[in-house]
Amino acid sequence: MSKNMKATSAKPKKRSQFQETMRRLSKNRSAMLGLAIILVVILISVGASIFYDYDTQVIAQVGDRLVKPCWQHPFGTDELGRDIFTRVLYGARYSLSVSFVAVLVSLIIGVPLGAIAGFCGGVIENLIMRFNDILLALPSIFTAIAIVSALGKSTLNLMIAVGVCSICTFTQVTRSAVLTVRNNEYVEAARALGATNLHIIFQHILPNCLAPIIVQTTFRMGQAIISAASLSFLGLGIPLPAPEWGAMLSAGRNYLLGYSYMTMFPGLALLITVIAFNMVGDGLRDALDPKLKH
């Protein structure tokens, strides 16, 4: 049987899991829209200084205060006469970098903790998960405020504060993924072949846990942007006068009645970015689900 098969065709192209996922993701319209928005935001945050020069556009032009949106200032100017459009573009840089680093922090701490808890079980699992419960029991904004007030106000501390708040999510997600994967027969099969625990964790368990972790990462990016903005809104975020979206909202709230555009544009930017991350997260969850393969 094998012999006549061999003659029929050449080796088919290796289609990796990644390509398969991307193929399915590309069929999901809202996920693709979200992805496009995120790409645009990334481009803006990277290229903001190429399109607009902060010094000439904002610092040098201070003067015309509280100008309503017009050709020269598409989003108007704020109470100090700074161009809001330019500030929103620059703000993308802060929001994205804060959320990116924050999520990275929680990934680095949360995933190994969850993996250890799920794989070892027993006392270790109990310790980790109870600690996690404590973190979960505190409203995350309080934890973040506490961290920032303890460490001092700086961009880095904001990143750490936001990151610590989402550690527990990753621990939980990773642990439950590990628990599911650990009971799969292929893990037992690897053990039957004589594989060590390390081999099993790195070759079989973690790669099969990636899907829920990736999905959670995407959702958490959106969440982190909001958390960072909230802290800035409360004056605990990136020090002024950096054009952070949350800080801009905070500044604008005093002028809400007459000059609502001051809060509207940074608010919209925030909203659109967070929704984009959530749309991608939703799409990824569907694309990575092996049950929906057909």
Binding site: A190, A192, G194
Partner: protein, 316 residues
Amino acid sequence: MADKILEVNHLKKYFDTPRGVLHAVDDVSFSIERGKTLGVVGESGCGKSTTGRAILRLIEPTSGEVLFEGKNILELNKKQMRHLRQEMQIIFQDPYSSLDPRKSIAELIAEPLEIHGIIKDKKEREKRVLELMETVGLAERLVNTYPHELDGGRRQRIGIARALALNPKFIVCDEPVSALDVSIQAQILNLLEELQEKLGLTYIFITHDLSVVNHFADDIAVMYLGQLVEKAESEALFEKPLHPYTEALLSAIPVPSLRNRRKRIVLKGEITSPVNLPECCHFAPRCPYATEECFASSPELREVEPNHFVACHKVK
């Protein structure tokens, strides 16, 4: 004396459950000669899979002895055990869940070689993988495909190739064909048979399908609720089943022929739960021949005819 490759003595595996102690394997003893096949038959929950896994220490037995080529493997430490796994392998029932979905066929078959560092050279390893694929009848072009792209029969061939990669002497086949279609089932059974002849393998063949085991095994052990109730050479067992359970089991097989039909004995009731079992013949509540004696004490496994063991008070 026959050359016994494996001897199992008083093997027990108990699980603690919220409802009490579950006797999954309850004092099972048997042995297998080199190059032969022992079929282990029983219905779901009778402990046949647990027995297979306990022999390989994939599940740690509660007590007992497993002598592989004279060595008690239950006394080996982790490292020695890992090393011994090269000689004792298992083929799993479900070719869908027993293969890591994120690995290609080549990676899956190369994995045992990597784990044991048998062939270090990458080129050599690839050659060995292709050789193994040829042995189990997998076309070379499939080397980079993933399990979910293949049908059950081909996946089971991958499982077999993985088990063979380390040149084992002994393989536990845990229902290797029950997830497959009839026409594919026969392909896999024939493959296993060929490999046994070619490589001198010894099998434990765990199954619920009596017609398959009759065809495949030299000896058959019948299990009921964690205990061995009858063990004999296949021919003897099919010709003259002594235990009432074996008799009923044999008669319940639907035979695909309109002739020489057996009279069906339909058992009353269902398998009771293996938790907190009373000290009596576990089959007694369903047994058409049961008397007081059967509810009073549990029967020992005795050799009633040469090589024919049975655990029943009624068999004299």
